[in-house]
Amino acid sequence: MPAQTMTLAKALNLSLRTALEDDPDVLVMGEDVGRLGGVFRVTDGLQKDFGEDRVMDSPLAESGIVGTAVGLALGGHRPVVEIQFDGFVFPAYDQIVTQLAKLHARSGGALRMPVVVRIPYGGGIGAVEHHSESPEALFAHVPGLKVVSPATPSDAYWMLGQAVRSDDPVIFFEPKRRYWDTGEVDPGATPPPLHRARVVRAGTDLTLAGYGPTVKLCREAAEAAAEDGRSVEVLDLRSLSPVDFDTVQASVERTHRLVVVHEAPVFFGAGAEIAARITTRCFYALEAPVLRVGGHHTPYPPARLEGHYLPDLDRVLAAVDDSLAY
């Protein structure tokens, strides 16, 4: 298949289609994923082509979706399940944390859990309550899970395929406000490993690290900073469990400054762990404390206020200024 330009949602769709074609044990399950093709159309057309036995509309029960996926995996299938929105994952949280994450260890490696839980996450689409949340740190904190989030159509395509082929449970966070962003996907290319971070823009004065929806924001901030004569490096972390600290460390040793950007609340967020580890690894290289830009420690606000909650260009640039002022 030649390289094509497509949306991030379409890239996920193509990835699922490829996975269903390549492995008869792969199943897709979730609310409205069948006939409708998902509320974001990520599974569009899959039930028509692969049948109701492999692309299943589930009852409206999130714990049931993940709990039966555990059983399907025990039976040798590789379920890819969809949680319709970030804020609806919590009924499934018990199954993910106490069951899915632990069965491989509990069984001494006898039982594998090749389950992917896809979760559209994050704000910026003017949604109602519980439809804009960023709960990724709640999963990265859980031993036994792997947590990743693509930022581009190309990564969406490759990372979902890698997650499906992984024998470990993967929580796959999809930046829903980037579903309609376009980019080139080359199915003939060789992808980087699933848990490798990537330098998406080289720089010398400061490192901006984001993942999922904030990578684009970090690039925009780097471009704006360049106009002021500041050379900002941008990292796409891609994976939160594990975090590729070697790549972050190498970047910080070049730039001596780090700002982490995510939509989730800053308090006890992914940025806190990254700040702690990078401070330990790069104590003598750092010229400023690691700074964080993210959501407030408040419930996600009503849509008309989300512009004041989400990190934006000005807040990221302000953090860049703060870091450079040390």
């Binding site: 199943l27 036995d53 589930s58 009852p59 029960a61 714990s63 049931g64 709990g67 039966t68 996926a69 555990v70 059983g71 399907l72 995996a73 025990l74 039976g75 040798g76 299938h77 379920p79 009924p91 018990d94 199954q95 106490t98 069951q99 632990k102 069965l103 491989h104 260890a105 509990r106 069984s107 001494g108 490696g109 006898a110 039982l111 594998r112 859990m113 031993p143 036994g144 792997k146 992984s166 024998d167 470990d168 848990h195 469990s241 594990p242 975090v243 590729d244 600290f245």
Partner: protein
Amino acid sequence: MTAPTADHASGATALTDALNAFADHRPEPQAVQLLRPDGTLTLPPEHIPGYGSELLRALYRDMRMARELDTEATALQRQGELGLWPPLLGQEAAQIGSAHALRPDDHVFPSYREHGVAWCRGVDPVDVVRLFRGVTNGGWDPRGSGFHLYTLVVGAHVLHATGYAMSLAKRGSDAVAVAYFGDGASSEGDVAEAFTFAAVHDAPVLFLCQNNQWAISEPVTRQTSSPLYRRAQGFGFPGVRVDGNDALAVHAVTRHALDHIRGGGGPFFVEAFTYRMGAHTTSDDPTRYRPPAELEQWRARDPLARLRAHLSATGLAEPAFFEETEERATELAHRVRHAVRTMPDPAPAGVFDHVHAEGHALVDEERRRFEEYERSFTDPERP
């Protein structure tokens, strides 16, 4: 608003009739019973599937072994060799009777008290007690025995059984997944969701509820105001109640349910009406909440006593059979005791084993640091 008319009264009657049509007037049936507490049969033996010396002796022998394991493990806990033990005392018939109806390729998803089912599935009792000694969070490989690991999060495994059944159906297998759970678990959302998934997928899963009347200190009246077996009807599959202290009836009803499921009939719910004669676990004190008279009442329905009475009265088993069974039980107890007392603690770095199937950079790094730290206590090079 229009004024009442002559039709108003008859309209109200019609509405009452329409509402009454939804009322359930069925009388509450008796639980299925084949063997009375005094050891006599409720039906002629030729009407009882599988009835005969071989089945009845096997049921008795395995119930006796399960009780012996239970007694020994309880003693080992009291002596500090196990951290905890959830006794099955009183539930032997519900477990052994149902397990004997299963095929080797069926797959059991137990709760944490199904030591009798584990025994019937060929899981080494020594492996079962490992969890409760605290040397593992698992204990055995479920793939060999068709007996999944114990699940301590109440009800969570009922969804796993349902998913496993969906998997079996997709592969065209006629094997069945069996979820064992209790009256307490019946209140968990996961169990209701499992019923829904199983029903809409026609999944080949048997829901086997041991209603032992108590969820730690809460009587079953805190879990439900209608008989549990009736719940199945609301989800669209059959439910029956069986005398859970009658191994013969549990066996026959389970076999019927499995035939129904294997024949493509979809899920089936069996409520084994039984009694937890012991504590919830060795950490529990049932005298704080349970009237002694209730226990005495159920002691009179002891599942082993009634089958033994039947075997003796009918001559299906000679005294030598009971003597040999006692000897085997004693051997089992000795073997478990010796194995537990010589069971080594696992290596500390083992906590890092198998966290992931394909490794995880941070776990690997933590392991390296931990091992380095441990070595520092014995490394002569270090100050």
